[in-house]
C-alpha cells in the first residue's frame, strides 16, 4: 500500500497525467468524442453526454480505490490514468460551455475531491480513523466549493442544492470504499451501481440548467 503513496499523491495533485486537451482525440462514441461535440449539440444530447461522463467517473473511481486497497499497483496506475482522462474530459465539457478559463479552473477543483478520496482510501487501508474523518471533512467542504462553482457558472443552480447532491455523491463513493475495504464484494458492487446511478441526479439538472442558460448552443429537441 505504501508503494502507492507517491502515485496516489501525483493523482491528487493532478500530475499523473499531463493536461493535454484530449477532447476529441478518442474514437467516436467515447466520452471524449461526445464531450467534443457538446458545443452546438441538442439539449438531450447534452444530458446524455454529462450522464456518460459523470457515470464513468463513479465507476473508474471505484476501480481505482479497489486496486489501491489490494495493492495492485499496475492496475491502480491504469485506473488512475483513466480516471484523470475522465476528469480532463469533464473539464473540457465545462470549458466548451462556459469558456476555456472556466474549464481550466474546474479541473483542479474536480481533481481536488479525487485527491481527498485518495486520502480517505489510504486512511481506510491504514486503519486511521482520524485521517478518515479529516478526509471526510475535506470532502464535505469540497461539496460547498463545487456548489459555489456551478452557482457562479449557472446562477439557476442553487449552491446549497448542488452541494447536497455532491455530498450524496461523496457518501455513495465512501460506501463503495468501505465495502471494498471489508471485502464485502456483493455490497461493494451494489454500492458502485448506486453511486453510478446517483450521478444522474447531478447530470440531469446540470444539463437542463445549461440548456436553459444557453438556448442558442443547446436547442431543445
Amino acid at each position: 500500500m505504501k508503494s502507492f503513496k507517491s502515485t496516489l499523491a501525483a493523482l491528487a495533485l493532478g500530475t499523473a497525467v499531463a493536461v493535454t486537451g484530449v477532447i476529441g482525440m478518442d474514437v467516436a462514441g467515447t466520452p471524449s468524442a461526445v464531450a467534443a461535440e457538446m458545443h452546438g449539440m441538442a439539449a438531450a444530447n447534452l444530458r446524455v453526454a454529462l450522464n456518460q461522463l459523470l457515470g464513468e467517473h463513479a465507476t473508474l473511481a471505484a476501480a481505482a480505490t479497489q486496486a489501491a486497497l489490494r495493492g495492485r499497483k499496475s492496475e491502480f496506475d491504469a485506473a488512475a490514468g483513466a480516471l484523470d482522462k475522465n476528469s480532463q474530459d469533464l473539464a473540457g465539457a465545462i470549458g466548451s460551455v462556459y469558456g476555456k478559463d472556466a474549464g481550466d479552473a474546474f479541473l483542479p477543483l474536480w481533481r481536488k475531491h479525487i485527491g481527498f478520496f485518495v486520502d480517505y482510501t489510504l486512511a481506510k487501508a491504514a486503519g486511521s480513523k482520524k485521517k478518515q474523518d479529516k478526509a471526510v471533512q475535506d470532502l464535505l467542504q469540497y461539496a460547498d466549493d463545487f456548489g459555489a462553482f456551478l452557482n457562479s457558472a449557472t446562477p439557476a443552480l442553487p449552491k446549497e442544492a448542488v452541494a447536497e447532491l455532491v455530498k450524496t455523491h461523496i457518501v455513495s463513493l465512501k460506501e463503495v470504499v468501505d465495502a471494498q475495504a471489508s471485502r464485502d464484494y456483493k455490497l461493494a458492487f451494489e454500492k458502485i451501481r448506486a453511486a453510478s446511478h446517483h450521478m444522474q441526479m447531478i447530470a440531469d439538472p446540470l444539463a437542463d440548467a445549461i440548456a436553459a442558460q444557453f438556448p442558442d448552443k443547446f436547442a431543445s429537441n
Binding site: 462556459y98 478559463d101 472556466a102 479552473a105 474546474f106 483542479p108 477543483l109 481536488k112 460547498d144 466549493d145 456548489g147 459555489a148 462553482f149 452557482n151 457562479s152 457558472a153 449552491k159
Partner: protein, 111 residues
C-alpha cells in the same frame, strides 16, 4: 478686518483638513468562477486595487504563493459581494493566491 482674516484662515484650515487626500489611480479585479480576473494586472505605483468576490464561497486575496505567504497584504476570507482593497506603493511584481483554493493564483505588476 483682523477678525475677518482670522475667520478666513480658520475656514481655510478647516477646508484643507476636511478635504480628502488626493486619490491615486484605481483598478478592479473580479473574483468569479474560482478565478482572479484579470489574472495579470499592470498598474502604476500608488494605485489602489479592489478585488470583489462574485462567488458564493469564501475566497482570500493573500500575498505570496501557496505555502509561502508574504506579508504585503492578506484580506482574510470574504464571501460573495464582499471586497478588499490594497494600495501598491512600491514597484514590483506581487503574486497572490486564495488560501482556501490554492490553485487560484494571480499577480499585480506595479511600474
Amino acid at each position: 478686518m483682523r477678525a475677518r482674516l482670522i475667520a478666513t484662515a480658520l475656514l481655510a484650515v478647516a477646508y484643507l483638513t476636511a478635504s480628502p487626500v488626493l486619490a491615486g489611480e484605481t483598478a478592479k479585479i473580479d473574483i468569479k468562477l474560482f478565478q482572479f480576473k484579470p489574472k495579470e494586472l499592470e498598474v502604476k505605483k500608488g494605485t489602489t486595487v479592489t478585488w470583489t468576490n462574485d462567488d458564493a464561497i469564501e475566497h482570500s486575496v493573500t500575498a505570496g504563493k501557496p505555502g509561502k505567504a508574504a506579508q504585503d497584504f492578506d484580506s482574510g476570507f470574504f464571501t460573495k459581494g464582499g471586497s478588499f482593497s490594497h494600495t501598491f506603493d512600491a514597484a514590483g511584481r506581487f503574486t497572490y493566491f486564495c488560501k482556501r483554493h490554492p490553485n487560484m493564483q494571480a499577480a499585480v505588476k506595479v511600474d
